[in-house]
């Protein structure tokens, strides 16, 4: 549904996005995973038409480029920053953005009610946003993206800074939206979210797409070996042994046969290990 082709964007001497190409299929939840400053938000901005790429194209299947105002009717965006008016109520925010998307009268009223219901904010609809908790603001942020019932959603770190309950709520909501057939481009640096939600994941760092595939494919390709950790007796007490292996169960069977084993643990490769493998372990400023 959304096609990004050889996108490139620089800000001054800094290359934010470097030759990024990916396609998000209809009905897919595509996760764009990367550390801070990897280029996720810049990619979203170009995908929505907020930024003109230095080169490359963005295309929405069957509709056109998002720099065209009419094309943006098919997109709903929830920015990373909470793009809400604090001095307006939740309902007023939705009504305003709904009007910008062409909704009027009864249709607007119904969409506002339904959206508030979906994000669990109906009881607080008449309260000003500045009175909302962080989790409530995130949910309203998502609600505004959905107000005009777009077929595609671009969610830029929608759970940033929220408590676990609110995060669960948002993730459940995203699953519901996906189940309804919406196409979702989801950026995050939380592995767990990407693993739980995404049909496919692209790992981006320093503006470049490092890997692309399902979670299982990425793990198989880039995850490396499993690590078996064995806690056993040693001449001077206990000792811990770590063994990298492609067949952890067989390795455990072999070790058990040797005796003196107190505990065994298997650490299978996951998305986090893939991520660290591809992006490195050093801190990012």
């Amino acid at each position: 549904m959304l096609r990004l082709t050889h996108l490139r964007k620089s800000f001054g001497g800094v290359v934010a996005v470097d030759d990024l190409s990916l396609e998000v299929g209809r009905g897919e939840v595509f996760g764009l995973l990367g550390p801070n400053g990897a280029g996720k938000s810049t990619s979203i901005a170009m995908a929505v038409g907020l930024l003109d790429p230095d080169s490359g194209t963005v295309e929405l299947d069957g509709v056109g480029r998002p720099t065209n105002a009419a094309v943006r009717r098919h997109l709903g965006v929830a920015p990373q920053s909470l793009a809400l008016y604090d001095d307006l109520t939740g309902e007023e925010n939705l009504r305003f953005f709904g009007r910008l998307h062409g909704l009027r009268g009864t249709a607007l009223r119904e969409r506002v009610g339904k959206t508030l219901e979906m994000v669990g904010l109906s009881p607080r609809r008449a309260h000003r946003v500045k009175e909302y908790s962080g989790g409530m603001k995130r949910r309203l942020n998502l609600a505004v993206a959905m107000i005009h019932d777009p077929p595609m959603l671009l969610l830029d770190e929608p759970t940033a800074g929220v408590d676990p309950q609110s995060r669960n709520n948002i993730l459940d909501l995203v699953r519901t939206l996906a189940a309804e057939g919406r196409t979702i481009l989801y950026t995050t640096h939380y592995m767990e979210e990407a693993s739980r939600l995404c049909t496919r994941v692209g790992i981006i760092d320093r503006g470049r797409l490092l890997a692309l595939g399902t979670v299982a494919e990425l793990v198989a390709r880039h995850g490396g070996l499993s690590v078996v950790t064995i806690d056993r007796d040693a001449p001077d007490g206990r000792a811990e042994e770590r063994i990298q292996t492609a067949e952890p169960v067989r390795e455990i069977a072999r070790v058990m046969g040797q005796g003196n084993v107190h505990a065994v643990r298997i650490d299978r490769p996951d998305l986090e290990s893939v991520f660290l493998q591809l992006t490195g372990r050093s801190l990012r400023d």
């Binding site: 793009a83 305003f96 009007r99 505004v144």
Partner: protein, 441 residues
């Protein structure tokens, strides 16, 4: 088009919920106009003098005199029961003077031809010399009126003359020539009082001391119709070229501050959208990007029109300001709103942050307001400042509004302010659009 209106209405709603901006946009200009109007002259006419009245006599003449004082439009009378309390009011500055009607006022008023007088005392703050002169004149006027009252009452006049005759008769040391003169004077006055020779249409003869009584219903004669000094007051229509009161200066200045408030409030709003992140949503909405700026411009325009309307309503209803040319005023309001909307758009587009917009507001717009007549009235600016003020949109807005008030500008005279305001509006719009496009690229 609906999106433009939606953006404008949203911004206006936010303005009503932003207490600080709401105050400086709509409340402060009104307060400013009222305050400086009062400082520079208040109602434009003569302010009534506040005086205390101490009536130590209480007789009919004193009561009549007190009534004359209270009825006079140039005086506001505060009753003081004692002389000490009247003086206390003067000391506290609550009144200009304490006017004392002393004991014996009634007798004195009835003995003006025999050594008596209509005696009054005014206790005043020595620093208030101008008011002292005014009050003295006023008291003399009212004292003379009291005398006329005595003259007009023939019975009283008779009694006064009788008393005077008695005192002359008893004055042994009075030289004969003077006695003769006084007697002749009293005889003449008595005659005038009896016959009403100098009276008006209602004059009728009083009986001689031993003559028949006048017919029933005959109005009293006497000197009541005698008017040795007659002043006829006729009101003249004046085509003023200057303000008729200080509020006709201060309210246009208030307009300048209202427009400044609108520019400040809306100029910072785009920067706030940028910082808040809502600009992302606005730009990702399926509307042409220019609609965002036009929507903000519409909101600012409406606010500018409203604040000017509010000021004019307060000025005309509460402070005697007259809109002599309503059509010109409507044009002035619309043109000022257009011009300042342009100024706002330039500031909004250039400012990256709310703090930047506020800073620019203070640095540039406030200075323009000050040199453009926002603080010192335009007609009081020295010649070199008049030239400098041409660069300020505030000058042209104030001139346009004053043109519809006291300047009574002709269409030709309005042309320059109109063109200047249009130029500011167009230039600001262009700067805003170009700058926003560059920043998006």
């Amino acid at each position: 088009m609906r999106a433009i209106v939606a953006v404008a209405m949203k911004d206006l709603l936010l303005l009503t919920r932003d207490r600080a901006n709401f105050f400086f946009t709509f409340i402060f200009p009104v307060l400013f106009a009222i305050f400086f109007g009062l400082i520079f002259g208040g109602g434009g006419g003569t302010n009534a003098l506040d005086i205390a009245l101490v009536d130590e006599d209480g007789g009919p003449a004193a009561v009549a005199f007190a009534g004359d004082l209270s009825a006079d439009a140039g005086l506001t009378v505060h009753e003081a029961p004692t002389r000490a309390e009247g003086e206390a009011l003067v000391r506290r500055g609550e009144v200009v003077a304490a006017v004392v009607v002393p004991d014996g006022f009634e007798e004195g008023a009835g003995a003006i031809f025999s050594g008596g007088s209509i005696a009054l005392e005014a206790v005043m703050d020595p620093t208030r010399k101008a008011e002292a002169g005014l009050l003295e004149g006023k008291l003399n006027e009212l004292g003379f009126r009291q005398m006329t009252r005595t003259f007009g009452d023939s019975a009283k006049m008779n009694a006064t003359l009788e008393k005077a005759r008695g005192q002359i008769a008893g004055a042994d040391d009075l030289p004969a020539a003077q006695r003769l003169l006084f007697t002749a004077l009293f005889n003449s006055l008595e005659g005038l009082n009896r016959t009403g020779a100098l009276g008006g249409p209602t004059a009728a003869a009083l009986p001689a001391p031993d003559g028949p009584a006048p017919a029933a219903g005959t109005p009293a004669a006497g000197l009541g119709a005698w008017r040795p000094v007659m002043v006829t007051v006729r009101e003249l229509r004046i085509d003023r070229k200057g303000p008729s009161n200080s509020f006709e200066i201060s309210f246009p200045q208030g307009v300048a501050w209202g427009l400044l408030g609108c520019v400040g409030a809306f100029g910072a709003s785009l920067a706030a959208e940028r910082q808040r992140g809502t600009l992302i949503r606005l730009r990702s909405a399926p509307i042409p990007r220019g609609y965002i700026l036009v929507g903000k411009a519409l909101g600012c325009f409406i606010a500018c029109v409203f604040v000017q309307g509010l000021l004019l309503a307060v000025a005309t209803v509460g402070f005697g300001v007259i809109v002599r040319q309503p059509g010109t005023m409507a044009a002035a309001v619309l043109l000022s709103s257009f011009g300042f909307t342009g100024v706002m758009m330039a500031i909004a587009a250039i400012s990256r942050t709310e703090a930047g917009a506020s800073g620019m507001g203070r640095a540039i717009v406030l200075v323009l307001a000050m040199i453009g007549g926002g603080t010192v009235p335009l007609f009081m600016l020295p010649p070199f400042m008049e030239t400098v003020s041409n660069a300020s949109p505030f000058k042209w807005a104030i001139l346009a509004v004053e043109g519809a008030l006291w300047r009574t500008s002709t269409p030709r005279e309005m042309l320059t302010p109109a063109l200047a305001l249009i130029a500011f509006g167009v230039a600001g719009f262009l700067v805003g659009v170009v700058w926003m496009r560059r920043s998006e690229a």
